[in-house]
């Protein structure tokens, strides 16, 4: 079985609790995720469920302090030169995988933007207003590739052409305020892709855009992914976007991954109460209702849940002290290719839950 491009294993990140000295809030705990080349992993969840923290941890973008990486590994297999760059951190290298959390800032800079790129939620504020688009894209290119300025300009122009911008040579000389939101998000994508990263972290890339532009941007990402065999970690809370784009879906709640399965399986047979509630709460076009369903209305434990495992009912307001789903709960593969946060009935089965990974890609339409 092929190795994933990146696998996050048992990641836990905490921040100091406000107003309480010494106490820490666990932003994420026991997060396990994996992305394969050419695959889109969608991470869905409410605000504050730890989606962004997980993604930002990949690039070590969590400011420490106040944040702290408590435990876990982030194994990266996308770089050819990373093992050398991390040579001084011998403990971080194994099976040509690098543990990104052990890299120092200098080694990390060779990864950021180069092997792993990120696009942010707000296209309106993600571009520096005092520089032209060309200067901003070229800076990224010049940082990571040994090319001349004129070659960098050509790369920037072709990156703009890739994301479907007309007259790229002209656009390079323009300033961010001269563009609309959708155009700016295209620029952000062009900037992220100019260095041909192996993995793209897209943190709610379409939230600020209207539906038509949203569809265009997502279509664009799919096309570019196919061309470059790039992994995408798509963070969103829009289940429509997930259904349209994702290969594999991870549902997060209260800092934990509660369910991990391929998109078809997850939408057709959600197993975890929270996921079930989440899917149920989506309003259906054309159905009349006095009152829309909330997550709690649908958060039921399925009748056919495997008897070997126990899943706790959904608790919408878990206390920060105890992990959501219980102290012993881990992601268990309750059915082939379907992981759910639960506890085995028999303590012997508790030994070592496998890290969830699915080398699955949806059929191309």
């Amino acid at each position: 079985m092929a190795e994933p491009l990146i696998s996050i294993e048992n990641l836990a990140v905490s921040f100091p609790a406000r107003g309480k000295a010494g106490e820490r809030n666990q932003a994420v705990r026991d997060v396990n995720l994996a992305v394969y080349p050419g695959q889109t992993l969608a991470v869905v969840g409410e605000s504050g469920s730890g989606k962004s923290v997980s993604a930002m941890s990949i690039l070590q973008l969590i400011p420490t302090p106040p944040g702290r990486y408590d435990q876990g590994r982030i194994l990266w297999r996308g770089g050819s030169g990373t093992a050398d760059a991390a040579g001084q951190h011998a403990q971080g290298v194994q099976n040509d995988a690098v543990d990104l959390l052990t890299l120092n800032d200098k080694a990390m800079r060779t990864i950021r933007g180069n092997q792993i790129a990120m696009i942010f939620q707000e296209p309106m504020t993600s571009l520096n207003p005092v520089y032209t688009l060309g200067e901003q894209i070229m800076e990224a290119v010049l940082l990571h590739r040994k090319v001349s300025r004129s070659a960098a300009r050509d790369i920037a122009a072709s990156a703009l052409r890739d994301v479907g911008i007309a007259a790229p040579e002209q656009r390079l000389k323009e300033y961010p305020h001269q563009l609309s939101g959708g155009m700016r998000q295209r620029i952000m994508i062009a900037m992220a892709l100019a260095c041909q990263p192996r993995l793209l972290l897209a943190d709610e890339p379409t939230t600020a855009l209207d539906v038509t532009i949203q569809a265009q941007i997502l279509e664009l990402l799919r096309t570019l992914q196919r061309e470059k065999d790039m992994g995408i970690l798509l963070i969103t809370h829009d289940l429509g976007v997930v259904a349209e784009n994702a290969d594999v879906v991870a549902v997060m709640f209260a800092g934990r991954v509660v369910e991990f399965a391929n998109v078809r399986e997850l939408f057709n047979r959600p197993r975890h109460p929270y996921t079930r509630g989440l899917l149920r709460s989506m309003p259906v076009l054309g159905r009349r209702a006095q009152r829309l369903d909330t997550v709690m209305d649908g958060a039921t434990i399925p009748d056919d849940f495997p008897e070997k495992f126990v899943v706790k009912p959904h608790d919408p307001d878990p206390s920060p002290a105890t992990p959501y789903g219980g102290e012993d709960a881990r992601l268990h593969e309750i059915e082939p290719g379907h992981w759910v946060l639960c506890t085995p009935k028999n303590p012997q089965d508790h030994s070592a839950p496998a890290f969830p990974r699915l080398d699955y890609r949806r059929a191309q339409a």
């Binding site: 106040p66 990864i111 950021r112 707000e122 504020t125 520096n128 800076e139 040579e169 002209q170």
Partner: protein, 460 residues
């Protein structure tokens, strides 16, 4: 590669925010008036030795045509005049982008200054062999030459194209070499009366004098013995448009030469303060937390220092020294800039484009100074123009108190003399007016800049 842009595009050429702000700035009458006055002062400072000098430009004595004026030109005069010449020359290259021309001017001026500093280091070395020059001055001169030369070198090596590198580098070498090779060696002691004696004796066949034929240090001590007329504290007349001071020197000439000190103290003291303020404030704002806490305490300590008293004390211990004064003013005046930059950086560090730059693998110094600083520097620019005004005022205050420079001309020092001037009202009015107008001009520019850079006003 052909770059034939369609004509419609070039007419609507995108303008940077800075360019747009500069245009808004120049739109107001206040900024125009202030900048005109400052520009006039700059011209005066550059051409002071040309306009007001006792040394005849050219004369013929005993069949020999020579230029005493050229012989008495100092290194500072030469650097200023040459750098002005470079600026005018570069203005003519309209096809090169403005930013590149400004960069080229900075590099060339840097080469000139480095050459001048190296030259004065050599002089100091010679004088030291004779004894009497403290080692510190020599070291400072060498350091200055090295730093400025290195900066010019870096600037040349990062120029856009190979052709640009070659042209600017060659011109810089030529200028610096020319300055170093030029026989600039003005006599240490100047006897101004010799010119008048030569003229009176009829030894001069013909001469071309400067428009104002008095150097600032020409005290006309010979006038008493030659004509029996005391030249001191004369009221304004045709020969001395603003009269003479209590030593017999021409007030207008002293005022013209004093513009150099007024401009230099404002710009250098504020420059030092801005650099310190940006670095300290930037680090405080970006790292926040403990760094910010400690930095703010440092700011509080420094803002408690009474600058005038400190300066008076320094003068008492180390004597009157203009450069020391600039450094003290700079080293105590940075707190305002630091707090402004801190506030801006605290806001900017959370901005998405800073996060995006970080996620792009941009190194820290580039995030701080390339991505954040241009977005947060505007309040500092406004404050700096007020800071320049207040530095000029501080120097005038010190000179007025009699703690400033003695030999070199300064507006405040002329005002100090005015207390004892009796009927010579020119000594009170004109230096006072010059200080007032200059401070006013910088304040006007600062006000206009604040309006022009206000993002809320940008839409109107």
């Amino acid at each position: 590669m052909t770059k034939a842009a369609p004509p419609t595009e070039s007419s609507a050429a995108p303008r940077s925010l800075i360019g747009a702000a500069a245009l808004r700035l120049l739109g107001g009458w206040g900024a125009r008036a202030g900048l005109s006055w400052i520009g006039f002062l700059v011209l005066t400072a550059v051409f002071a030795p040309v306009v007001a000098s006792s040394h005849p430009w050219v004369w013929k004595v005993g069949g020999q045509v020579s230029s005493p004026w050229l012989r008495h030109l100092t290194v500072t005069d030469a650097v200023l005049l040459l750098s002005f010449g470079v600026a005018v020359t570069l203005l003519c290259f309209r096809r090169v982008a403005a930013g590149r021309r400004i960069a080229a001017w900075a590099v060339l001026t840097g080469c000139l200054t480095a050459a001048a500093a190296a030259g004065s280091a050599v002089d100091l070395w010679r004088e030291r062999a004779a004894g009497g020059v403290p080692m510190v001055f020599l070291m400072v001169a060498v350091l200055l030459a090295a730093v400025i030369g290195f900066m010019a070198l870096i600037a040349v090596s990062s120029a856009a194209s190979w052709r640009g590198k070659a042209v600017v580098g060659f011109a810089g070498l030529l200028l610096a070499g020319g300055l170093a090779a030029a026989p600039i060696d003005p006599p240490v002691s100047v006897v101004y009366s010799s010119y008048r004696e030569a003229t009176a004796a009829g030894a001069v066949d013909w001469q071309v004098l400067a428009p104002l034929a008095y150097s600032p240090g020409d005290y006309q001590r010979d006038a008493m013995s030659a004509t029996g007329i005391d030249a001191r504290l004369k009221k304004p007349s045709l020969a001395h448009p603003l009269g003479t001071d209590e030593s017999g020197a021409d007030v207008l000439s002293r005022m013209i030469h004093a513009t150099r000190i007024a401009l230099a103290i404002g710009l250098i003291a504020t420059g030092i303060a801005v650099v310190i303020g940006i670095v300290v404030g930037g680090l405080m704002g970006y790292f926040a937390g403990v760094v910010d806490l400690l930095g703010m305490r440092l700011v509080e300590v420094f803002s408690a220092i009474p600058v005038i008293f400190l300066l008076i004390m320094i003068v008492a211990f180390y004597g009157r020294n203009l450069y020391l004064m600039m450094v003290i003013l700079g080293a105590t005046g940075w707190v305002g800039y630091a707090t402004f930059i801190r506030a801006e950086f605290l806001k900017l560090r959370k901005m998405d484009y800073v996060q995006a730059a970080h996620a792009c693998g941009v190194p820290l110094w580039s995030i701080l100074f390339r991505h954040m600083l241009p977005n947060g520097v505007t309040p500092v620019l406004v404050l700096a123009s007020f800071g320049i005004a207040s530095a000029i005022l501080t120097e005038s205050t010190l000179s007025f108190l009699g703690l400033g420079l003695v030999e070199e001309p300064s507006w405040g020092q002329l005002l100090n003399q005015a207390r004892r001037a009796g009927g010579q009202w020119g000594l009170t009015l004109f230096p006072g007016l010059a200080i007032f107008l200059t401070v006013f001009a910088y304040n006007l520019v600062g006000e206009a800049m604040r309006d022009a850079l206000d993002p809320k006003a940008a839409g109107k």
